[in-house]
Symmetry: C2
Subunit: 251 residues, 2 copies
C-alpha cells in the first residue's frame, strides 16, 4: 500500500509534543536509525521502499506500507528524507532513584537544544551511562530532531523526566551529586566516584539555583593556559563529554 493521506497527516502531527504525549509514539527516519531502534521499541507503523523491505524479511511492525521514495519524501519531517520512516511506541521507563547509588548517571537541568540532547544521549551511550534524569523543562527526547541526533543511542539509554530538585533531594546525603561551574574545583585534582549523578545545566543559564543547592561536589574543566582570555563557557554537550570521559578514564 502507498502511504495514505491520513498516515502523512499522522506523521506530520507528531512534530508536536502534545500529540506525541497523547499518543505516546514518536517518528524515526532512515535505515540506520530505524535498524538500531527495531527490537528496542515496539514499531506501530513503517513505510519503506520495496528494496528496504526485501532486505528486512523478519521485520515486526503493526502495519507496513511499501512506498516510493517520492511518497516517503512527502511524509518526511527531514530536509533529506531517506528510504524508510517509522512510528514507534514511546518506552514506559521505570524510574528507580536507587540506580544512582550503583551507577554513574546524568541529570539535565533544562537543556533546551534538541541537537545538544541528542549528542548527550550519544555521549552517555559511548561511556556506558544508562540513565539520564531530565527536568520537566528539558527538551522532549521524542522530538524528531532529538531522535535523529541520537543516531540510535536512544535504544540503550533511558531518559526519565522528573521534578529535578525534588528528585535529587530524595537522594541519600552520601550520594555524590556533581555539577560543573566556572567557580568549581579543577576536575583533574578531584576524586571522582564510580556512582552518583553528574548534573548539566541549561545552555544560557546553567544549573538552576534550586538544583545548585543540592550539588555536593562542584567541578570545573580548566581552560588552557589557565587564566587566559577565552570563551566564557563550553557548549553543554562538550562539557558533558569531557566530564564523562574523565570519570571513565579514572576507572
Amino acid at each position: 500500500m502507498p502511504i495514505s493521506k491520513n498516515k502523512i497527516k499522522w506523521i506530520r502531527s507528531l512534530e508536536q509534543k502534545k500529540v506525541r504525549r497523547e499518543e505516546r509514539v514518536f517518528v524515526a527516519e532512515g535505515p540506520k536509525l530505524i535498524g538500531d531502534l527495531l527490537g528496542y521499541f515496539h514499531c506501530r507503523y513503517i513505510a519503506a521502499t520495496a528494496d528496504w523491505l526485501t532486505a528486512h524479511p523478519t521485520l515486526q511492525a503493526d502495519e507496513i506500507d511499501t512506498a516510493t521514495i517520492d511518497e516517503i519524501e512527502r511524509a518526511s519531517l527531514l530536509k533529506a528524507p531517506q528510504h524508510v520512516i517509522a512510528i514507534f511506541d514511546q518506552r514506559t521507563e521505570q524510574t528507580d532513584i536507587s540506580v544512582i547509588e550503583h551507577q554513574l548517571c546524568i541529570a539535565l537541568d533544562d537543556v533546551q537544544d534538541p541537537g545538544n540532547l541528542g549528542t548527550i544521549i550519544r555521549i552517555a551511550d559511548w561511556f556506558g551511562i544508562e540513565h539520564i534524569f531530565c527536568s520537566q523543562g528539558t527538551v522532549d527526547v521524542y522530538s524528531p530532531k532529538v531522535v535523529q541526533a541520537t543516531m540510535g543511542a536512544l535504544a540503550r539509554v533511558h531518559l526519565h523526566y522528573v521534578a529535578l530538585p525534588e528528585f535529587i533531594g530524595k537522594l541519600k546525603d552520601e550520594v555524590p551529586v556533581y555539577g560543573t561551574f566556572l567557580d568549581g574545583k579543577n576536575i583533574y585534582d578531584q576524586p571522582l566516584s564510580t556512582t552518583g549523578l553528574i548534573v548539566m545545566g541549561n545552555e544560557g543559564n546553567g544549573i538552576t539555583a534550586e538544583v545548585r543547592k543540592l550539588i555536593n561536589r562542584t567541578l570545573y574543566i580548566p581552560n588552557y593556559p589557565i587564566g587566559r582570555e577565552t570563551s566564557e563557557s563550553l557548549n553543554v554537550a562538550v562539557a558533558t563529554a569531557i566530564t564523562c570521559a574523565e570519570f571513565r578514564r579514572r576507572e
Copy 2:
C-alpha cells in the same frame, strides 16, 4: 538613519558563500557576539537600537544606522533577532606552516556541519589552540550559522583554508600528526606532544584516505566498558573536545 532596503538586501545576500567570498565580509548578530568581535575585525556596517548605540559611544564602524527592533528583524538572518546586526571584514590570515612545530594546532578534513565547526572553534579557544587548518571542503567559517555558533571565539582563533593533503605533506617528518580512528591506540596510554597537528574528519566519512596516509600517530577514545555494544562513533566536535582536553591535561 533606518536600515535601507539596499542594506537589507546586502545583509541577506551574505548568506551566500559566493557573495561573502567576493566582498570578503561576513554578518554577525547579537550584542554579545558583536561586542566580542569589535576590535578584532574591522566593522564595515552596524545597525543597532538607540539604546545599544548609547551604551557603545566609542564604537568604530564605517557606517552606523540607528534602527528599531522591527527593522533589525527584517534584516536579520536569525530566527530570534537581537538588538544589533553588523557586517565585518573577513580577516586575511597569514598561513605559516611552522606554527605546527611550536604549538598544538587542529586540522579539519571536510567538516560539513556549521554547528560542529562553530563548536570546534569554541573548543580550540577554550584550550588555547590558535590555528585551525581546514580542507577546502570544510564548511565556510564565515557562514552566518558558524559565526553565531562560535560565540565570539572567532576573535581569537585563526582559520586557514588549505589543500590539506599537500599542506600536511610539507610538514617535517618528525612533526606529530594525530588522528582519531576506531582502530587507533587508546589515547590514555599514548604519549601526547605539546606541538603538532590533531586531524579531525568529516561527520559521516571520517578522515579522507589521502590525509590518513599522512597521520603518524593514531588515537582512539575508548568507550566504556570497553567492548560493550555502543554508538558507532562520537560526534566530531565531541571527539575534538575530549582529545584536546586530554592533550592539555598532560601539560
